[in-house]
């Protein structure tokens, strides 16, 4: 079967993030681009599934991002994805979450799929809105927050994480599924994978290839971003130096009592 993993390319998760006051968008210059960490879990789930099925199933990664970030996809190929589709178009700048889901749905219909696996959340935009909307636009069952999955007789069986446990759900393919970090630690890209990745194809895709959906770009956005603000600066932490655990615990307790927190 054909598994497609949607990966967002995000600014280095360890880098300090700054917003351009003019455009209200994240400043990307000088910051390295990486695979959205949650999407590495999605890719891991896809690769593990492919290995388990061992029936010629393939894993394709799909990213929609600015042209300059394309080579970041090599890491997904080095980890073991068979090929990649890179959707880029100047007209995509400013696409909102709903628009992203719509555009990705157009791309996925063009590529073809049996199973779409998304990360649960992007590290930068962080709306978590794409997966659900994607299932809707694709008109396929959507299973969000899966912690494990398997394929039995053409159906996905998954455990969905909830606040107080998990649900066991199942749906007939094709399916859109998003995963949590409980699916398993992403593998390292091996040296062999890195050396082989340059030979794997990254197919370019533009809006014109997928029927130029009107939801794309700032013009198609239904949400306008009015303003952004940095998080409040955290006050100075109080450091307690303790010679042993007990006196340390006592110091913490005194501190909490002083503030009437206990």
């Amino acid at each position: 079967m054909k598994i497609v993993v949607t990966v967002k390319l995000v600014p280095d998760t360890n880098a300090e993030k700054r917003i351009d006051p003019g455009t209200q968008r994240l400043i990307r210059t000088g910051v390295e681009t990486v695979l959205n960490p949650y999407d590495e879990y999605a890719l891991e789930a896809a690769l593990a599934l492919k290995e388990k099925l061992a029936d010629g199933s393939t894993v394709t990664v799909l990213a929609m991002a600015p042209e300059a970030t394309k080579e970041t996809l090599r890491k997904a190929l080095a980890m073991g994805a068979d090929d990649a589709v890179f959707l880029t178009d100047a007209a995509l700048a400013g696409t909102d979450t709903l628009g992203t889901a719509d555009v990705l749905a157009h791309a996925l219909k063009n590529i073809g799929f049996d199973l779409v696996i998304c990360g649960g959340l992007s590290d930068d935009g962080s709306t978590g809105g794409v997966p659900g909307a994607l299932a809707e636009f694709l008109a396929v069952p959507g299973i969000t927050n899966a912690r494990s999955l398997e394929i039995i007789d053409g159906r996905v069986h998954a455990q969905r994480e909830t606040d107080n446990g998990y649900q066991v759900v199942s749906a007939a393919l094709p399916v859109m599924l998003s995963v949590t970090m409980a699916v398993g630690e992403p593998r390292y890209a091996s040296l062999k994978g890195i050396m082989g990745a340059k030979k794997k194809p990254i197919a370019p895709m533009a809006l014109a290839n997928i029927g130029a959906p009107g939801s794309a770009g700032a013009a198609g956005a239904k949400i306008s971003l009015l303003s952004t603000a940095p998080p409040p600066v955290r006050g100075k932490a109080k450091v307690v130096e303790a010679t042993d655990g007990l006196s340390g615990a006592q110091a913490v307790l005194d501190f909490l009592k002083e503030r009437k927190l206990v």
């Binding site: 090599r74 890491k75 390292y188 890209a189 091996s190 040296l191 062999k192 890195i194 050396m195 340059k198």
Partner: protein
Amino acid sequence: MNFDLTDEQKAIQSLARDFARGEVAPRAEEMDREEAFPYELVRKMADLGFMGLPFPEKYGGSGADTISYALAVMEIARIDASTAITMAAHVSLGASPFYLFGTEEQKQKYLVPLAQGKMLWGFGLTEPGAGSDAGNVATKAHLRDGKWIVNGTKAFITNSGTDMSGGTTITAATGTRPDGRKEISNLIIPQATPGFTRSKKYKKMGWRASDTRELAFVDAEVPEDSILGERGQGLKQFLKILDGGRISVAALSVGLAMGAYDEALKYAKERHAFGQPISSFQAIQFKIVDMLCEIELAKNMILKAAWEKDQGRDFNQTASMAKLYAGEVSRRVVNEAVQIHGGYGFMDEYPVSRMYRDQKINEIGEGTNEVQRVVLARMLGL
């Protein structure tokens, strides 16, 4: 001129960094304390392709270049020198002799499993009485009934006695040359050879998790075809092996310095004295800046040597300078890193104290500082 790494080199560097931070860092302190050889890490490094990093795929390697190899050693040494030397000695001293000089049959038999990291291999040059003067080999081998009979002792041999060590290649006098001097050859000695024994691990000041042993040969018998490549070429061969090894030892030194720098920088921002972070004192700032400058310089020298090697050029002088300079930089940097930590730097639970102990060998192994200077002076025709 272009200082950019290729996408592939960057990817290998970041893989090594992720691996070192994710897998090696959590174990480094305990491995050092317990003198525990990193079997599990070696197995993982083998799976990822590190143990055969610069060898062609057809010999089980990963097919990457020397620059990538140097970058990988740096990133691992940045976290733990014992793990880094285990990998670097395996690649540069254990496996590369087969790649450089082995017959096709020896390559298939030894290089392939070594590059795949299925077993480790040592290189035994040093003897109790022959270190810097490594050509002065006392270990002897003579032919009897189509077998080499080996007698002698080797000292300080890395990776020679682990549960996954397959054997060691040693230098031995295999006869006398027409000019009356010793004929030296490299002999391939598998672990199970009768008459070949390994001592217990040495107790070491640094590199404590790495495996270093003394080897004894008492009428040890190996088949006649156990000569690596050509008979009588031992001296030339080991000099060439050490040339390549210098790049990786230099990378190890600068990697260690980078690790000590990382720790010092972090600590300087956290630690307060006189009501301010110690990083606000100019005396500390100057140390940190000097450390960074020296690291950058040493790193550039190593990458240049690696680049020259990848271009098929003569790299010996640059590699020798890099080994010498990086070794001394690592000493100055770990020293200042401990200084910046104050008393805490003297305590076992701070990584800089381990780095301080791990550093000294960088100026001794694979050619001491003095020997590097002798070699370089000779290259200058002095």
